[in-house]
Amino acid sequence: MTQIFRLENGGLINRDKKLSFKFNGKTYYGYEGDTLASALIANGVHLVGRSFKYHRPRGFFGAGVDEPYAIVQLYRNNETEPNIKATEQELFEGLEAKSVNCWPSVNFDIGAINNFLKIFLPAGFYYKTFMWPKSFWYRIYEPFIRKAAGLGVASTKHDKERYEHKYEYCDLLIAGSGPSGLASAYAAAKNGARVILAEDKPRFGGSLLTSDVNIGNQSGKDWANGIIAELKEMPNVVVKNRSQVFGYYDHNMLVMSEKVSDHLPKTKKHHPKQRLWYIRAKEVLISSGSIERPIVFGNNDTPGVMLSSAAKEYLKVYGVLVGKNPLVFTNNDSGYETAIEFKKNGINPIILDSRVNPQSEIIDEAINLGIKIKFSYVVVAAQGYKKVRSADIAKISDNKKQLGTIENIKCDCICVSGFWTPTIHLASQSGNKTKFKEEIDAFVPGTSKQNETTLGAANGIFTLEETLKSSFTAGQDLSKKITNKDNKISFPNVVEKISSQHDKFWCVPLPKGKNYKRFLDFQNDVAVSDIEIALKEGYRSIEHVKRYTTLGMATDQGKTSNLNGLQLVSDIENKVVPAVGHTTFRPPYTPISIGAIVGREVGKHSKPTRKSPMHSWHEKNNAVFVDAGVWLRPRYYKQGNENLFEASKREAKNVRTNVGVCDVTTLGKIDIKGPDAAELLNRVYTNAWLKLPVGKARYGVMLREDGIVMDDGTTTRISENHYHMTTTTAQAANVLSHLEYYLQVVWPELNVNVVSTTEQWAGAAIAGPKSRKLLKKLFPNNDVSNEGLPFMGYKESELFGVKARIFRISFSGELAYEVNVESDNGQFMWEKIIELGQEFQVQPYGTEALSTLRIEMGHVAGSELDGRTISYDTSLEGLISKKKDFIGKRSLNREAFTSGDRQKIVGVVPLDKKTSIPEGSHLVRDAKAPLPNKKLGHISASCWSVEYDNPFSLAILKDGKNMIGEKLFVMSPLKNKVIPVEIVSSHYVDPKGERVRS
C-alpha cells in the first residue's frame, strides 16, 4: 500500500501522471504537481533530517519558502545540489534526495548525543566552550563539528548547467500573485502599463488556492485562474512563476531568480537551469503575503508539529493528509479553517483554542460540523521522538500564567496557528522604515524610501475585500501616473468569513518540574532558554541577542522565528516589541545558487579575449599563448620538444645575434590631436615636450599626483598638432581615463582631443643587429640608414602598397624598429617580415624572450612600476624636468622620497651563476638571522641572461645606489630557497646604450 496519506480525490495535482522517486535510497511514488514534501507526507514519511545543533529529528514544518526543517541533498541528472527545501522542490520522474546533517543515518544519528548533552550547549556555547582549552579545539571540537555539523555537501564537479542573466525594465514589478498581486497587476495592465508579475511557487494565486472565499460568483481559485489567463494574453504583461524576487536594491532595482528547469528531470537543450533577472522598475508593488506564526510549547520541534496553514495547503493543493488524528492548536480563527478542511474529508480533528470565549462565523461553522473544541486550552508539550504520538494539554488561566491539570491526548500531528506575520523583507530591504502594528502584533511597512507600495497581507491587511479594493486602486493609480490612461474596472463582489480577534499569546509556560525545550528557531535550534541566558548575561540589543544565540541566522533567515523571539525579549525585558526593534532584513530573501549569481561569466566567458590581427599566424606556428590582461599573447614559439626555458632562450639569443620579430599590437595607443597637445604632454610627462620636432619620438614617464610612477612609453610627433602615444599593455585604459580627466575636469581650457587607437594599429617590433638590413628589404624606397632614420626617429612609408608607420624605438636594447600598419594589414605585414627576413635568420619571439631582453638591459616594466615606486627608485630620475611643473611633481620633495637611503633598482646575480632566483623573493643581509629577518628589498623580475648565460634578476633594494658590489642573500620561504647573490648594476648588458644608436 503506497501513499496511505493521499486522499481519494482533490488537490491540484495531476493524478494521471504517477512519478517515482527515491528518498534515502527507498523508492516511493507521487504525482505530477507534487512537491518532494507533499509526496513524502503522502507516503507517511515524516522524518527527513536532523537539527543543526542537537541533531533532534526533523520533519516538515511549512509548505513553502518558510520551511526551516526539510532540507535535503538533491540528485538530478548526475549532479547534486545541497540545501534544497523539500517543500519547494517539485517532484519529477527519477528524483533522488537524501537527508542532510545526519551521520550515520537519519534514523540513528550519533550527533543526537548532543541532545542529551544539551545542558552543555546553551546560547553562546560556541563562543564560550570552544575557547578553552586551546588544544581541545584542534583535537576534539573542530573534527567533531566538521563531521556532525553543516548542512548539505556541495558538489566538487564542474557545473555543466547554464545560468543566464537578464536585464529588464518595466513600469510595475509585482512580487507575489496572491489576491493583492493579481488585482494590482490586472488594474495596471488594463491601463497599458508594462507589468511583470512574479510568483515564487509553480501555481499562481497564493492564498486563493486554499481559502474558502468567493470573488465575483466564482471560487477564489477560479477567479485567480481567470485573471492569470487574461494577463498572459496581454502583450504588455510578463507573468512568471517559479520566480522569487529576492533582493530590493538602490534606485528601484530588484533581482529575481527564475527556476527555469529545476522542476524537470533534465534541463532542456538550449535552456538555462536558472535565470537571474535584474529589473529596474518605475514602481514596485510588494504583494508577498504573510507567513503563519508558530506558538511555542514544549518539544514543539517534534516531527508532526507544523503550521496549520501548511496542513491546509497539503490538503487542498496536494490532496494529502498530514495526519489522520490531528490536533489543531490556535490563538485565532485560522486554525479553524484547517480543522474544517480535515472534517470535510472525513477526519475528526480536535481544536485547542487559547482564547476564553471567542465568537465568529467560522467558529460557529466548526461547532455546527461537530468539531470538538476546547477553549482556554493549550498544548504544553508534544510527546513522541521521531513523530508526534500524543500531546500533553492543559487549561490555561485567563492571564496565561497558570496551567491546570495536565492531560494526555492521542494525536499524530499538531497543527499550530499563532496568527500571521506580514512578509516585509522586500520593503525593509528597500529602506522602508517599518512600524509595529499593535492590532496584529507585527511589523508592517511604514514610510517608503523608494517607489514601493506594499499591499494586502504583507501590509497587515487580512480581509480579502479590503485587500482587493486597495490593490485594484493601487494598480490603477500607479499605472495612471505612468501611462496617463484610466480604465475603470468594476469591483467584484466578495464573499468571505470575518475573523474574530486573535489572542496575544505565543509561548506556553513550562509546567512545574519540567524543562522541555521550547524552540523559537527551528533550524538553528534556538530555544526560549537560550534567549533567557543571553539576556541574563547582559545582551540587550536585539542584534546582539541574534548573534549570540544565532536566532534567525539560519538559511530560512528566521521567517518563522523572528517575531516570537522579539516577543520573548520584550516580555522578559518588560518592553514593548517596537522598542526592542527587529533585526535588519538583508537580501537575499531566500538562498540563491552561486551558479545563478555568476551567470554565464564562467571560464573563458569570464572576460573578453582580445587577439591581435596576427593571432592565426601565431597559432599556425606553434605559439604557446599567455594571458596579458585581456589579451592573448604568444609566450614562445615551440620548436620540436623545446620547453619554455629553451625556446625563450633561443628566441632571445637570436635577437641579440640576428634579428627577431615580436607582436606588439597589445601596447596601448592613444591618438592625441589639437593645438595644445604639446602642452598636455608637457604637463603629463615628467620630462620636457614642448620642443620635440615633428618626426621624432620621445620616451616619457608619467606620475600620479602622489608622485608614484603611473606608466611609461614613447610618444611620437606625427605632425604639428598630432601625437601618437603608447602606453604599457596593462595601463592602457587607465592612462586614457587619466588624460580625459585632466582635459575635461582640470584643464578644460586645453584644446586637445584624445582617443584610443590600440585596436586600429597592428604592431611588429623588429629587433637585433640585422634589423636595419631587414628594414631595407621591407622599405626599399626609403632611407633607413642611421642618418636617414636615427634613434627615436619616425617615418611614414608604404609597405608594398600598405600605409605604414616606422618608429626607431627599442625595448630590447638592440638596434630596433617598430612598424605599425592598419589592423587589417597586420597579417600581411607580419608575413612579409618573416618572408624577407629569412636571409637574416629572422625568428618570431614571444613575451618570455621579450622579458629576458628588457631585464638584462635594465629596462623597467610593470613589475618595477608596481604602484609603489617613484622615478628615483626605477632610475628614471634623469627624466625629471627641473624647469617645468607636471602632474605629481609637488609630491616629489616629500621626506620619504628624498631620503638618502631610498630604495633603487639594482641587478642581482647568484654567486654560483647557476641558481635561478624566484621572482618575489626577499633580499636579506644575513640568511641565518632570527625571524623576522629584516627585508632589504625584493626581486622584481628574473631571467636567464642570454648575453652572459647565467641567471640575472632585477631588484628594488633599499639604498640600492650604494649597494653595488655587496654580497646578500635571496630568501624564498615559499620555494624553500636561500641563494647567496651579488648586487650589480641594473644595466647588465650594454650599459652605455650603444647598440640602440648603432
Binding site: Y249, D250, H251, N252, M253, Y278, R280, G431, K449, R683, E705, D706, S737, E740, Y741, Q744, V745, V746, P748, K884, D885, R890, S891
Partner: protein, 89 residues
Amino acid sequence: MLHIKCPYCGMRSQNEFSYGGDASVKRPELNKEISDEEWDNFVYNRKSPRGKHLELWQHLSGCRQWIKVERDTATHEIFNTYKADEEIS
C-alpha cells in the same frame, strides 16, 4: 545598482560608470608656490560626509565624459547631475 543620469546619454546603470571622488577638490594651479599642507589636502585629505556629496563619475562604457553627480552618501539618492564644466548654483 544606482541609476545615473548622464547629461549626455540619459539614464544609465551604475556599471557603465567609474567613480572619481569629491568633485569640489580643485587642483592647485601649475607652477604655484603652495604649502605642504595645501598639497596634502589636495592629494590625500577628503571629507567623508554623510549626506549630500558632489562627486565625479566617468561614463566609462558610454560617452567617456566625466560628469558631476550630487548624491546622498547615506541614501544614495541622486539629486542632480551636471556636465563637468557646468556651473552649480
